[in-house]
Subunit: 295 residues, 4 copies
């Protein structure tokens, strides 16, 4: 199967390589020449342009930073919707607003192309290891067409609903994740301030009604979990600024549908303050520093 892969950053690069290694015929492109050259050196075939990559493809995969980039790549004048062959499939893995995903699906349908939104979670580690989680919006049949590719890049594939639903479900999940991380940080810091042993407290809450993913996999307090970013000076992992972006997308959606999310809104504010304080590149579990005396 001929695949075009557009957007070869920290996530897209390893994802494209995984497809290539799995034996798919991949033509890749990124607007950064340096990025293209680095991946060419790892064996990836690089096209001259997004258009050149997409023209012959049966599936076009894209991984871009924001809705405006997706808009420009596909829907603007001279965009790929005028280039991709009817009958082909678009798999957009970017995390963007659901509205843009829905408009892409509709515009694609008009020219005989199927499009699904398939945002991922799992970070750069998951992208390299091929263990990402895909949360997919679009027709079930289109997801089945994409499944053989997705399985080479990820370990979990969820079908959230129609076009845009992948974005919405991801944003709901990540808003909840931001809230869990702040709540877990508060509870851990409160226990420690009272003299509790953090490892004991973490274990008690993990196995009780406070149990959540952060206590399971990603304790925010240094030393509690050897492999968590907290124990590595908050390096690696999922950055504060990426969490801030997702919380911002959630709030944009909150206003559009007139939802009520006091904790989601406050989480956005606290991460914004944390980022403004110079911590944007740290792992998002570093929010616990807001609850601790500086060393």
């Amino acid at each position: 199967m001929k695949i075009a892969f557009i957007g070869l950053g920290n996530m897209g690069g390893p994802m494209a390589l995984n497809l290539h290694k799995a034996g798919f015929s991949v033509e890749a492109f990124d607007i950064s020449m340096a990025t293209c050259e680095a991946l060419r050196a790892q064996g990836l075939s690089i096209a001259d342009s997004a258009t050149a990559a997409a023209a012959a493809a049966e599936v076009v995969v894209s991984m871009l930073p924001a809705g405006q980039h997706v808009e420009r790549l596909y829907m603007a004048e001279g965009g790929l919707l005028g280039v991709i062959k009817p009958g082909a499939l678009i798999v957009d893995c970017s995390t963007i607003d659901a509205d843009t995903s829905r408009r892409l699906a509709e515009a694609a349908e008009k020219v005989g192309i199927e499009a699904i939104d398939a945002p991922v979670s799992g970070g750069t580690g998951g992208a390299i290891a091929g263990t990402l989680t895909f949360i997919v919006g679009g027709k079930a049949a289109a997801l089945e067409r994409a499944r053989p590719l997705l399985e080479k890049m990820g370990a979990n594939i969820f079908h959230a609903g129609d076009a845009g639903a992948g974005q919405t479900a991801k944003i709901c999940n990540n808003m909840l994740l931001g809230i869990l991380m702040i709540g877990t940080s508060e509870a851990m810091a409160l226990g420690v301030a009272n003299g509790l042993d953090p490892t004991v407290l973490a274990e008690i809450m993990r196995r009780s009604s406070g149990g959540n993913w952060a206590l399971e996999k990603y304790n925010p307090l240094p030393g509690v979990m050897e492999n968590a970013p907290a124990s590595k000076n908050y390096a690696g992992g999922f950055g504060v600024d990426l969490m801030l972006k997702d919380l911002g997308l959630a709030q944009e959606n909150v206003r559009a549908v007139k939802a009520v999310t006091p904790f989601g809104a406050l989480a956005h504010s606290l991460y914004a303050a944390h980022s403004l304080g110079g911590n944007g590149a740290l792992d998002f579990s570093s929010i616990i520093r807001m609850m601790q005396k500086p060393e």
Copy 2:
């Protein structure tokens, strides 16, 4: 072993019965005569007073509503510390402030009595079924003395640390639980407002980084989990006013140790508003109604 059990409410009553059924010699007491009579009818031996129950006991178990009741029962003039035999053990299962628990342990030690704080979670269902979780503060040896009793009333026993640590760990856990429930409610309501299928969204988040106890056991949206209070008009379960009490204890502690808990503080406010609006007796997962249009 001779046990005195003081405080026979919705939690204490079934706990005392479980000890009785397990073959312990239990002398019980409650200030409500009606409560005493109801339990006598179920076979429990009722003493004439707390003093009468405690005088001969090797272990005194208590389950009272607030710190002031524990203070009065044990430490006031004429309190049980002047009655209980040296060498006996106090197991206070009340959820109260850690400071009172610490003062009880110290005062007891002075008269040759050991005392542990052993607040529970698991609700009235867990009290009846004998599947409570005990979070214990006090000396390890004292916990071992209590273990045979605790195992007849509960399924999980955690040792959180020294005297008072049981209270602190429970309050950390329950503050986090309140936060999880509000965050999960926001995420579920946001997804539904976007047209997602709630069962699909719940399953995606449960298995992703938003995973937490509320999604696992206690989804706040009616219809997602057949046996959750949400699907029974928010009857049963853990009441709004009990969650409010625990969040209040947490905030009292926050001020004492100068901790920082923006979400814990806001959770207290939101539950206070929910209670003021007339929902104090509903299950605490009903907080999702704040995020939904009234029917």
Copy 3:
């Protein structure tokens, strides 16, 4: 001076009438025919279309609900920027995002037209009485050209800065107003819950460091100020949904400039919950009901 006035709703209608009464030659238009007829009956000259009204005008005043309407009226294909005479002045009184205001000013400048953003505060009462406050963004010279008109519609005119600055300053002010109203509501309700006389408390805080516009002009508790919306069942005044819109614009801007506004974000959430609960049409001071037992 020939004036075109586009958008004749609850605010625009009385504003246009005030210009007419002051002797300006006004050609007005609204997309609602009923609205046009009602104002024609009050003596306003109604044009056949926005284009017809604007073609001959020296000043075009507009009062529209949202940024997309301003975009469409002026900047879309066939929009007024292709119709209005070079040298004319646009005074857009709509409360919209600053970005649209800036783009309008730039696009207008390219075709030789000056444009200022002049959002108002003061409500429908102020629009009728001609006592609005204008917060203007744009060149000082352009503001001076507009001043004779603005003075017939309002009592205060502020120059906030360059194009878009009127919108930004208004949004800062209204975000602060939402915060003041919630804070004042909390303080009043807390005092009353403690048995204080609300009028005495209001007077003490008004004259102390808690003093603010809400205590001065607009106490949220019924009975404290005879003429405040609170004393009229929260009728009239500035509606919950309008406050919610402005708080939403503020949060949109917050994300764009990466600002930190925990109270602004939470105010948006609380007003959203209040609106979802069915109070969208009440005056915004009704937020105090969230802090009171329902009657």
Copy 4:
């Protein structure tokens, strides 16, 4: 008139001196000998003990840090209620919980002494200048007896209601002040992030519906007001830790009366974080630093 003055700290010291300078016969005492010596050097008559000072007094004025100190001074065994002459008047100027104030008034009444709570605002500057604001709880007649003294120490005297009402009204006011300051900081920082001139924005909001005491007297942004603490590196003024104490008293009361104060609760959390970050001794307007990039 013979006055005993107990508690001669940063506030009490200058207050006692003002009474002395006004010609009252003042016997003063503080548990710090150094403090006593410093004031003796300024002409104040120092007693050997609180008891010695109070025994002959017609009015006992006290200015202590917390409720427990007031409790100990007056109500504990050997406390002043057993020393002060029947018919005398207690004027407690400490900012403490209303409950302690009410208990003091009741206990005093039983031994024929009148007591009023008269917490102050206005800071050390106001204490020195004699321009404090007194917010008084207690009987009107008792306030009239105290008025001649209060007028030598302050410029404004409010009667909030019965015993304890002074404390409650002050706590309501100061909670609102904390909220105003955070809200004003957010609005100022948001405007500046958008490129507005801070002085222009401050003036617009001050004269519009965002108007409040912070904009009037105490702008949190350096450079906007020459004499505000913000323009003096946040030195002087009302410290972060004092605001934190008052917000904590408010939250204690909130729980006691089951009130709903989301902003009051969050203000407490934000000031707690600010203090934990090492800013406890700065003026409370420094909270704006949480909304700004560090220099």
